[in-house]
């Protein structure tokens, strides 16, 4: 297998190599073309960490690094699993879920809370988890300390769902410091998601 990582800035060459190593057949080698010191240095370290034999061949304006695993490489560390997630998008359902409130439906507020908590639990425990969940307005409370759904949202995150909360909303409610799971996003990214992703569902 060969990867052309020339002119790619860090950490792209490492990400591509991490993704390719577990796919090699026993005895197969991976050749990565690089043309800067950073990629060369980083892949040399990766080869040693993954117990790969490394040979470097100079091709004039670039180098060919050949990595031969001494034993099969399995993606095992959380970072590598994430690398897989990043490159392969294995999240099964591909759904994007917007959560704009900490209650579900209109009517009794207490019932709404119970329903929302139950629904997030169900999302976290079904076979196919959403690809991405974006929490905003009242939904922002769900990803912060004190939320009864924190464990379920962490479960979703560990299963590959990207968890994002609207930064403007966190600031409005004064709870930015309390964010306990996932990253922070903004309307710019939310707009891109809305126009770029098919099938956004709002809870």
């Amino acid at each position: 297998m060969q990867i052309d990582a020339r002119n790619l800035t860090c950490p792209k060459p490492v990400v591509l190599t991490l993704e390719a190593l577990p796919k090699l057949m026993p005895g197969e080698s991976l050749t990565v073309l690089v043309n800067d010191e950073v990629a060369r240095g980083n892949l040399t370290r990766l080869a040693s960490q993954k117990d790969c034999e490394l040979s470097v061949e100079s091709k004039g304006d670039h180098d060919a690094l050949t990595l031969t695993p001494r034993s099969a490489v399995v993606a095992e560390s959380p970072a590598e699993v994430e690398a897989q997630a990043y490159c392969d998008v294995p999240a099964k359902s591909g759904a994007v879920v917007f959560v704009d409130s900490d209650t579900m439906g209109r009517g009794d507020e207490k019932l709404g809370h119970i329903l929302m908590k139950g629904l997030i639990y169900a999302l976290a425990h079904q076979d196919d988890v959403p690809k991405k969940m974006v929490f905003f307005n009242g939904g922002a409370h769900l990803t912060c300390e004190g939320s009864e759904s924190l464990d379920d949202i962490r479960e979703l995150e560990s299963r590959g769902t990207t968890i994002l909360t609207c930064g403007t909303c966190l600031d409005f409610y004064g709870i930015r410091e309390k964010l306990a799971v996932g990253g922070v996003t903004n309307l710019y990214e939310i707009a891109k998601t809305l126009s770029g992703e098919p099938g956004v569902t709002t809870l």
Partner: protein, 358 residues
């Protein structure tokens, strides 16, 4: 798959990793005449954190500027980090920031809400520092950049340069290392969200709190750990003070999975630049490669490296940790007389019998 637009994806280098290498900088400045002014107490010929210009016997101006491309995807967080980092140079001189100017470059098509959030992050940190933003300059550029030019005050008799370390001193570091690898990993989707949050929390913590404690103790020298990495900034201190530093490579606190990521080769270009500049002066015999790499790796908005009188080191660490506003404080090594050879030795300090942090 439609990819998210991430601010960090618009940046070629992450944060202080974008810094021009120290050796490169010296070359760029080589032929330029240095103007002598008796009131210029610290100028660029001194490789210190900020310039210091004496106005009266008890008042000097501290001048510094710092800006870089996005290091966080959230614009508010990016603005807050850039401001915290720029203000830090004033604290590293023992000073207090007073006024700041915005330095900004934005792509023409960046939504005004995003630009507004970056600025809001900057303003809030400057206010938290007790200073004011009084103006600035913005230009259009394909790659966004933000930072501040900061003016602070310091009593010149009490300023903390990086050239005052004395043999016998103990070295204390006030933040964890690993920001460089975690922000690099984040760009590739390799960083865990917990680690990213921890790094961002540390990067947005002002060195004000550490500085306020340090000036009450027998601190002889200080610098902040940023783009040149712990090794680069420690080397500037060793050279400026004409001493040797012994640093225990296992002593500094490390953020989350920083070491694992370093072992996987998730290292920014700045790590290699810093190595070229500093490694000839560092004796790292027997230290694992991944740990070495972390010590050379650029930090953004890193902690203060303080050289403190040995009898005051324990009290300093206790005071730093007292109110929870200083992210970390631990002894990482000691200072001895320079007798030739490497300026920095990595290893257990022989005459340092102090408890190693907590």
């Amino acid at each position: 798959m439609a990819e998210d637009v991430k601010l960090t994806k618009l940046a070629e280098c992450a944060g202080c990793g974008a810094k021009v290498g120290a050796g490169e900088l010296a070359k760029l400045l080589a032929d330029i005449k240095v103007q002598r002014d008796p009131n210029l107490l610290v100028g660029f010929d001194r490789s210190d954190d900020a310039a210091v210009y004496r106005v009266t016997d008890d008042l000097a101006l501290v001048e510094t500027v710092d800006f870089f491309p996005p290091i966080a995807d959230d614009p508010y967080t990016f603005g807050a980090i850039a401001a915290t980092n720029a203000l830090s140079d004033v604290y590293a001189m023992g000073g207090e920031p007073k006024v700041a100017l915005n330095v900004m470059a934005v792509p023409e098509d960046m939504p005004s809400d995003v630009v507004h959030q970056i600025l809001r992050g900057g303003y809030e940190k400057v206010y938290e520092a007790g200073a004011s933003i009084v103006g600035g300059h913005s230009i259009y550029d394909r790659e966004p950049k933000y930072g501040l030019a900061v003016t602070g005050f310091v009593d010149p008799r009490r300023m903390l340069t990086n050239s005052g370390a004395r043999p016998g001193d103990v070295l204390v570091l006030t933040k964890a290392l690993g920001v460089g690898v975690i922000t690099t990993a984040e760009k590739g989707g390799l960083a865990g969200p917990q680690d990213v949050r921890a790094a961002e929390a540390q990067m947005t913590t002002l060195n004000r709190w550490a500085r306020d404690v340090a000036v009450r103790h027998e601190v002889h020298a200080a610098t902040d750990v940023t783009g040149f990495g712990l090794m680069g900034h420690a080397l500037e201190m060793a050279q400026g003070s004409d001493v040797r530093l012994t640093i225990d490579p296992g002593a500094p606190a490390l953020l989350g999975q920083a070491r694992e990521l370093a072992a996987m080769g998730v290292l920014p270009a700045g790590m290699y630049r810093n190595r070229h500049f500093a490694e000839a002066s560092v004796n790292a015999t027997g230290v694992a490669q991944d740990l070495q790499d972390l010590l050379f790796c650029p930090e953004t908005s890193g902690g203060l490296l303080l050289s403190v009188a040995p009898g005051d080191a324990d009290a300093l660490v206790v005071d730093l940790l007292a109110d929870g506003r200083v992210p970390d404080a631990r002894v990482i090594g000691g200072v001895s007389a320079y007798e030739g050879g490497a300026r920095i030795r990595l290893g257990q300090s022989k005459d340092d019998t102090k408890e190693k942090g907590r």
